[in-house]
């Protein structure tokens, strides 16, 4: 029986959470004309919502409507029509509301994405902090005053919001405000597509946009599938800029569509096969902890996961012993359980891909499984934390992004070899150096071809520190003041007040 209203009630633990199911366009929820979504709880393999209740998907026409609403808002009630201090106030208000509703949002996130509840809560805390960080920037967007020939002209630059932004985000951190926050801060309006695997939490946030008092049309949510909704966004002539986070394969398609349509600006945060390098002087126990966190966090579903650990041969055996112990300490379990550390993979498709990589690792790459290598439990899409050793750096599982809880450990002899191994990848997103030798740290960090180098750490980003990829890991940077540039257009003004000229001009 199809649902006729545009919301449903989800009962999770003891909470009754009302969940909008429509598209959110121009401040209202409405039906979609695209393929609708049945979202699955990956810890169980069953639908999240009551039987017959689906999430509306957006057709090309729906995306059109969203773009129209976003453009209208940008030209009238948003953009530079709203001063920075007011944009700041609204973003702060949104952050406060998300903080207020943290408990419900976390529950929603957990059942939809499979993230254990403690991690969902942490994601929301990060999201709130990111919104607050960018709210502080909203009234601090400054251009330059440029002295030219003083008898002739004065130069100014205006840093203007680019306009309507299409944002396509993945399912691994659906809550993240990395696109919403800077885009809103500088005055852009958004057509926002969550991943089809995790459509729910952003719909709930859309309600908060209304409550916070944002003008209608500033933030629009168009759930849907990549082929239909995502491509409509990437090729829409009325979208000035597309920001995409997801796989490298899809990123390429987005860039091609952008180029072929209106040459819209593109930023991409794509895949990685990041190397965690452990030198002999490292505090080994700490390095083990960071390496384990780096690859197993979020069940390995992180673009910057440290999925290859490169260990100096002198500490290799000891490292393998310790990382095996660490991996085996990881607690998998029901996602609503506060004690659960690792949840399921987000979907059956992802589960199958990762299991296939594990099979390839065993049978084709002939690697040895140090621990794990199997499904965990009988329900849902859980995979044991898995470590491969005795494997070639050129093996498929050593080079292809797996996006699951699968680590490859490779030994090295010299610093040069470590760098060679670390950099022999098409990717360049994250990396790490574990060492107590400051010169080595600096030398290696300078030579790593990656957008982030963690030193004696892994995983944790900061709202004020930029993040993004070298090579096929992406275009552009998010976070920090750098994140603002993605959503700004620089206009140079030449203010001429000099002498009249003759024509033809005598040079």
């Amino acid at each position: 029986m199809a649902s006729t209203s545009l919301s449903t009630i989800l009962r999770v633990q003891n909470a009754n959470i009302s969940v909008p199911t429509g598209l959110f366009i121009n401040g209202n929820f409405r039906k979609g004309r695209g393929k609708s979504i049945t979202t699955i709880d990956p810890s169980l393999g069953t639908p999240v919502l009551p039987p017959g209740v689906t999430i509306c998907g957006a057709s090309k026409e729906d995306v059109d409507d969203a773009v129209k609403a976003a453009r209208q808002a940008f030209q009238t009630t948003w953009g530079l029509n709203t001063p920075g201090t007011e944009r700041s106030r609204l973003i702060h208000k949104l952050a406060n509301l998300i903080e207020r509703d943290q408990a419900d949002l976390a529950l929603l996130e957990t059942v939809d994405s499979g993230k254990p509840i403690s991690w969902s809560k942490a994601d929301i805390t990060d999201t709130v902090a990111c919104l607050r960080y960018y709210a502080g920037w909203a009234d601090k967007i400054v251009g330059q005053t440029l002295e030219c020939n003083v008898k002739e002209k004065q130069g100014f630059t205006r840093h203007e919001p680019i306009g309507v932004v299409g944002a396509i985000i993945p399912w691994n951190y659906p809550m993240f405000a990395w696109k919403i926050a800077p885009a809103l801060a500088v005055g852009c309006s958004l057509v926002f597509k969550p991943a089809e695997n995790t459509p729910l939490s952003v719909l709930k946030i859309a309600e908060l946009f209304n409550e916070a008092g944002f003008p209608a049309g500033v933030f629009n949510v168009v759930n849907g599938f990549g082929a239909e909704t995502g491509s409509a966004i990437a090729s829409h002539p009325g979208i000035d800029k597309v920001a995409f986070t997801g796989s490298t394969a899809t990123g390429r398609a987005i860039a091609v569509a952008a180029a072929q349509s209106n040459l819209k600006k593109v930023t991409l945060e794509l895949g990685g096969k990041s190397a965690n390098i452990i030198f002999p002087s490292a505090d080994l126990d700490q390095a083990v902890n960071w390496a384990a966190l780096g690859v197993f966090e979020n069940a390995g579903q992180s673009c910057s996961a440290g999925s290859r650990v490169l260990v100096h041969e002198s500490i290799y055996e000891e490292f393998c012993k310790k990382i095996k112990i660490a991996a085996e300490k990881i607690k998998l379990g029901p996602t609503l359980d506060e004690e659960t550390w690792q949840g399921p993979q987000v979907s059956e498709t992802q589960f199958k891909r990762i299991m296939e990589h594990i099979r390839i690792g065993k049978e084709e790459d002939k690697g040895r499984v140090l621990t794990g290598g199997k499904q965990w439990g009988t329900k849902g899409y859980y995979i044991e934390p898995t470590i491969f050793v005795d494997i070639s750096p050129k093996a498929r599982i050593s080079t292809e992004e797996i996006f699951g809880p699968v680590l490859v450990v490779l030994p090295f002899k010299t610093e040069e070899e470590a760098l060679e191994l670390a950099n022999s990848t098409e990717y360049g997103l994250g990396s790490a150096v574990h060492s107590q030798d400051p010169s080595q740290i600096q030398r290696v960090a300078a030579k790593l071809n990656a957008g982030t180098v963690w030193i004696n750490q892994y995983t944790f980003t900061g709202n004020n520190i930029p993040f993004g990829g070298y090579k096929t890991s992406g275009w552009g940077r998010e976070l920090g003041s750098y994140g603002l540039e993605n959503y700004l257009s620089v206009k140079a003004m030449h203010y001429y007040y000099g002498e009249p000229i003759e024509f033809p001009l005598k040079l």
């Binding site: 502080g136 909203a138 009234d139 601090k140 400054v142 400051p438 600096q442 300078a446 709202n463 007040y497």
Partner: protein, 502 residues
């Protein structure tokens, strides 16, 4: 002996009836008596009567406050607290200012004499906005990584200075309070701030709000006489930076004391005699409105007041006619009357100084076009006053009056007006009115002032820097620029591979 308490009663019909709060020195989030339990009385300038007393800080009290601030810096503030957390607390404080806006504004009007409509509609909300603006900076003042060569890593850190001393004036008490707290706290400093002894009350009320938000010792509020409390701050050996807003005369004293003691860094926001230039192609009606606002706002008690109005010859008579009409329409009265624009001057001393200037104008041969006398018989009210037929060497043209007294002169052309406008030891602000944007930009470049307003006056925003050329001051407040006042830049050179030279 118990700590002094202010018990204020507001005029009949005002939205607040009365209010009580402690007026002890605020140190370590506690209210304490000053040494010897000395107090200073504060007067309501509308009536001339004492309304409260506040604790007076001796040099020893300043010592205690500095110690509290240093301890807080070393343990619960400074680099112990990340920028985003400092920002969050500034936002919280701003929220409290908003929630207590009626109280703060009422106290401000009673103590300073400014109209409640302005205190409530401008001073208090702008103070909150300033705290918010700087709250947003708290986690964004980053250093730089600088390429030199392969053998080293060079970077800068932007560190807080430590305990900073701040001394603020009586003309915008709560707003000046926020202008100082915002950037200093955002960058991680702790504060000993001396508020003006003639208008201490709104800041003392605000200490209750501070106590709800900031750890003890981060902000310490004292008051006292300049030559005792102010001097103790400017010459303190453990304060590494002093920020002063006030007269140029006192600014000199502060700077000398800073240099003589420990060479603490100094920023100064001082006086002005700002030119307001009306070109013949100006919209005269608009220009006259802005010019009236430009001088008479806050009863002329603005460092950046447009106190010298220059009108291009061809439109002089017409402009003066419009100006007179607008000045005549100024409503002088009690701060708590709804349509009051101009309340009393803030103190007997100020009243006397302004009237002395008015007298000198008369004696030196200027023409009193309007005003020139006391207004009413009670309180420190002065009639809005216009002098014409002035000469550049008259006291009323050269000296800052800081009251509702404007001098109006003529000029010929651009070169003439630039010379006249810049013929002052000051350089705080200036304005010009013209519909020719090229002329406006040309002249704006030539005026030696830290702020130039084009077709407006007295426009201040937290995001835009403000400060003086020449003897109007050193350094800039507001905008990103203010952060530099409270930052120590440390360059770190990490040697990676250079062998020792010997």
């Amino acid at each position: 002996m118990s700590v002094p308490v202010a018990n204020l009663t507001f005029p009949e019909g005002h939205k607040l009836k009365d209010i009580s709060f402690k007026t002890g020195l605020f140190i370590n989030n506690q209210w304490v008596n000053g040494e010897g339990n000395k107090t200073i009385d504060t007067v309501n300038p509308t009536t001339g009567k004492t309304i409260a007393s506040v604790a007076e800080a001796s040099a020893k009290d300043v010592d205690i406050a500095v110690e509290a601030a240093q301890k807080a810096f070393d343990t619960v503030w400074g680099e112990r607290v990340p920028g985003h957390e400092r920002g969050r607390l500034l936002f919280k404080l701003a929220d409290l200012f908003d929630q207590h806006a009626d109280q703060l504004a009422s106290i401000e009007s009673l103590d300073n004499g400014k109209a409640f409509s302005f205190a409530r509609g401008f001073d208090v909300p702008e103070a909150a906005a300033c705290l918010r603006y700087y709250g947003g900076w708290a986690d964004k003042d980053h250093g730089k990584v600088i390429e030199v060569n392969d053998s080293k890593l060079a970077f800068t850190r932007h560190e807080p200075i430590g305990v900073v001393g701040q001394i603020i004036p009586w003309n915008f008490p709560i707003l000046m309070f926020a202008w100082k707290l915002g950037p200093a706290l955002a960058t991680g400093n702790t504060i000993v701030i001396k508020v003006a002894e003639t208008t201490p009350l709104s800041a003392f009320y605000a200490t209750q709000l501070i106590a709800q938000v900031l750890p003890p010792g981060v902000v310490n509020v004292v008051t006292g006489y300049g030559n005792i409390t102010g001097a103790a701050i400017s010459s303190h050996m453990k304060i590494e930076k002093v920020a002063f807003t006030g007269s140029t005369l006192v600014g000199r004293t502060i700077m000398k004391a800073a240099a003589t003691s420990n060479l603490k860094t100094v920023t100064l926001e001082l006086g002005g005699k700002s030119p307001n230039i009306i070109f013949d192609d100006a919209d005269l009606e608009q220009a006259a409105g802005w010019a009236t606002f430009g001088l008479f706002f806050n009863h002329g008690q603005c460092c950046c007041a447009g106190s010298r109005v220059f009108v291009q010859e061809g439109v002089y008579d017409k402009f003066l006619e419009i100006l007179q009409a607008k000045v005549k329409a100024i409503k002088v009265g009690s701060p708590f009357t709804a349509d009051t624009f101009q309340g009393p001057q803030t103190s007997q001393l100020q009243y006397d100084r302004i009237m002395a200037h008015v007298q000198s104008g008369k004696e030196e041969g200027a023409k009193v076009l309007m005003g020139g006398e006391r207004h009413g018989t009670e309180g420190f009210f002065i009639q809005p006053t216009i002098f014409t037929d002035v000469k550049p060497n008259m006291r009323i043209v050269k000296e800052e009056i800081f009251g509702p007294v404007v001098v109006v002169s003529k000029f010929k052309d651009e070169d003439d007006i630039v010379a006249q406008a810049n013929d002052t030891m000051y350089g705080l602000a200036g304005a010009l009115f013209s519909r020719d944007i090229s002329r406006a930009l040309r002249v704006a470049k030539r005026i030696q002032a830290g702020t130039v307003w084009v077709n407006c006056y007295n426009q201040l925003h937290s995001q835009v820097p403000f400060g003086g050329y020449k003897q109007s001051g050193i350094g800039r407040e507001l905008g990103e620029y203010a952060l530099a006042n409270y930052t120590n830049v440390k360059a770190v050179h990490v040697n990676l591979s250079s062998p020792a030279p010997l």
